[in-house]
């Protein structure tokens, strides 16, 4: 099974990446090459094998529910493209 140009558009839409027509064609070829390479794992028998999401398994450690970070609003916003009064600005969403 290989990806069509429409598949590539759908995936890039899901990934929230704008895609030019020329780029979509090129990506379709590259993605299909990569997917046909990874396809080889389908022939491996993995019946009953527990998936391994992390090298050493186990549950992730939880921390105590207490304040560990101070409010550093200004420093944390210093790289934002557009701010006003300590808020991030985005194009108008609600009319």
């Amino acid at each position: 099974m290989s990806l069509t140009i429409n598949d590539v558009r759908r995936i890039s839409d899901l990934a929230r990446i704008d895609l030019s027509d020329a780029n979509a064609e090129k990506l379709m070829v590259e993605l299909n090459d990569i997917l046909s390479m990874v396809e080889q794992i389908q022939s491996i028998d993995t019946t009953g094998v527990e998936p391994m999401p992390h090298p050493f398994g186990g549950a992730q450690r939880l921390r105590e529910d207490e304040v560990t970070e101070h409010n550093r609003r200004e420093e944390n916003m210093q790289n934002a493209p557009d701010v006003m009064d300590g808020l991030f600005l985005v194009p108008k969403v609600i009319e």
Binding site: I11, I17, M37, V38, E39, T46, E50, M52, H54, F56
Partner: protein
């Protein structure tokens, strides 16, 4: 006095402790050389006044007797670690001029140990690649041959250590990004066990694989610096709960009786010159008392397909945070919020992160999740189990190539797939979370370094470094310096 910049970390430590040189003199020597060798493009951000200020503070501590043993030794950081005083870009246009509000744990620990920071080294964008040509700020060159790639993604770190413009440089390894550039540049690099150094403040690529490590001139230097980097960090939820360890303790343990696993099928697949260099290195080990054991790696051959499902899947999730709202690049022209996000991501990401985000998005999407992502995680377990069984029953360390050849030319591998396939020897250990080390073991006819990879069981960095140190006590490959540096 001979050129200071040719000193090892161990030698600088002696010179500084004996007060034969000041930290400022050392820092200045490296800063001068960084400027002189700027055509290598190994560094992305150098701020001499900040470095010199750190060096002056180090000298103050040395004078007042408050210094630690490593105070005043310079180090460079891969631009994947966030730093307060230098820009942190991940070599991406997405993070151009980004100033972090905090230091990564690794950066903070090395600073507390007394290291003076020289600046940030170039890499593949978001650490994705094996050439450093994927940097948005231009490729880094291999000091051995300007037409050859330095490897990647930590190409800047490997190149600057090889060119002796930093005595050591931090690096990160997700699928080979420390070991392969170290091999291509003729230096020593170690990727420790996943979870031993903290990931806090490392710009995330694939969180179940990303591991910080170090590139230096020798295993001894790697041991000195890595000892300061590892240790439990409560800010990293996958940090291993082990106390700090002095990895220099076992350096001289020798290799008598050490069982080295030899996957002949892997070694024989390498280019003949590299293959012979590896067998020669193995005979050095035999003469030092090690025992060679033939081993078969079977499931590990599935490393590349498994890796190129899992790593892009995690990358697509991690890189979702770049939306042009809180930080990062924002497009100039757009219609609405969604259009702004899509255009910002299109403009901010280079081709390789985009490819990986799209692959990852696809394998995680409805209807494909089980067939790709879960299946890959199952095969990942089979690979890890294979290593476990080999280390339990057959050998103490595995010796393998790092790559199929010495450094290739920038124009040699144009399509992404052939680059992905060249990761075959490094990704299996990454998937299993195992420590791996690369050390120089010869030179090709074209005068490019050959690398040998050593892989050890979980948390056996000491064994790995001791094994490499034994070889470096018996050979001089790690002492070669590229002409003109």
């Amino acid at each position: 006095m001979t050129d200071l910049t040719h000193s090892t970390v161990a030698e600088l430590k002696k010179l500084l402790t004996a007060k034969e040189v000041s930290a400022k003199e050392v820092a200045q020597a490296y800063l001068d050389k960084i400027e002189k060798t700027s055509s290598l493009n190994a560094f992305l951000d150098v701020r001499p006044e900040v470095t010199l200020k750190e060096a002056e503070e180090a000298d103050k501590k040395i004078r007042s007797g408050e210094a630690s043993p490593l105070t005043g030794i310079p180090i460079a950081h891969k631009d994947i670690f966030v730093t307060l005083k230098w820009a942190s870009t991940a070599a991406s246009k997405m993070l151009e001029n980004y100033m972090s509000p905090f230091d990564a744990t690794v950066v903070e620990r090395l600073q507390n140990a007394g290291f003076v920071c020289l600046g940030k080294t170039n890499c593949d964008e978001f650490a994705m690649g094996s050439t450093t040509a994927n940097s948005a700020y231009g490729k880094t060159y291999n000091p051995w041959d300007a037409n050859a790639v330095p490897g990647g993604s930590s190409g800047g770190s490997a190149s600057c250590v090889a060119a002796r413009i930093a005595p050591a440089a931090t690096a990160t390894d997700t699928g080979g990004s420390i070991r392969q550039p170290a091999a291509f540049c003729g230096v020593t690099g170690i990727k420790p066990t996943y979870g031993r150094p903290s990931r806090w403040g490392m710009i995330a690529f694939a969180s179940s694989l990303d591991t910080a490590g170090i590139i230096a001139q020798s295993a001894e230097d790697c041991a000195i610096v890595l000892s300061e980097m590892i240790g439990f960090d409560k800010r990293d939820s996958t940090s291993i709960e082990l106390p700090p360890e002095d990895l220099t303790v076992g350096l001289n343990a020798g290799v008598k009786g050490l069982r080295i696993g030899v996957p002949r099928a892997w070694i024989d697949k390498a280019e003949p010159g590299l293959r012979d260099a590896i067998y020669k290195a193995l005979s050095v080990y035999e003469s030092l008392g090690a025992v060679l054991v033939d081993i078969k790696l079977d499931k590990a051959n599935l490393g590349v397909p498994v890796y190129y499902i899992i790593a892009p899947a995690e990358a697509s999730s991690n890189l979702g945070r770049f939306d042009g709202v809180r930080y990062g690049h924002r497009a100039k022209d757009y219609n609405d919020l969604l259009d702004m996000i899509k255009k910002s991501r299109d403009e901010g990401f280079g081709p390789e992160p985009k490819r990986r985000i799209l692959i990852g998005t696809y394998v995680l999407s409805h209807g494909y999740y089980d067939a790709y992502y879960i299946k890959a995680q199952q095969v990942r377990r089979l690979i890890a189990q294979e290593f476990d069984a080999i280390f339990k029953n057959e050998c103490d360390v595995i010796a393998a190539p790092v790559s199929t050849d010495a450094a290739f030319r920038f124009d040699a591998k144009a399509d992404p797939l052939s680059l992905y396939l060249s990761d075959l020897y490094t990704v299996p250990g990454s998937l299993a979370g195992l420590p791996g080390l690369s050390l120089p073991c010869g030179m090709s006819e074209g005068k490019l370094p050959y690398g040998l990879q050593l892989i050890a069981p979980k948390c056996e960095e000491g064994r790995l470094l001791g094994t490499a140190h034994a070889y470096q006590q018996a050979t001089d490959w790690h002492k070669l310096v590229p002409a003109g540096y």
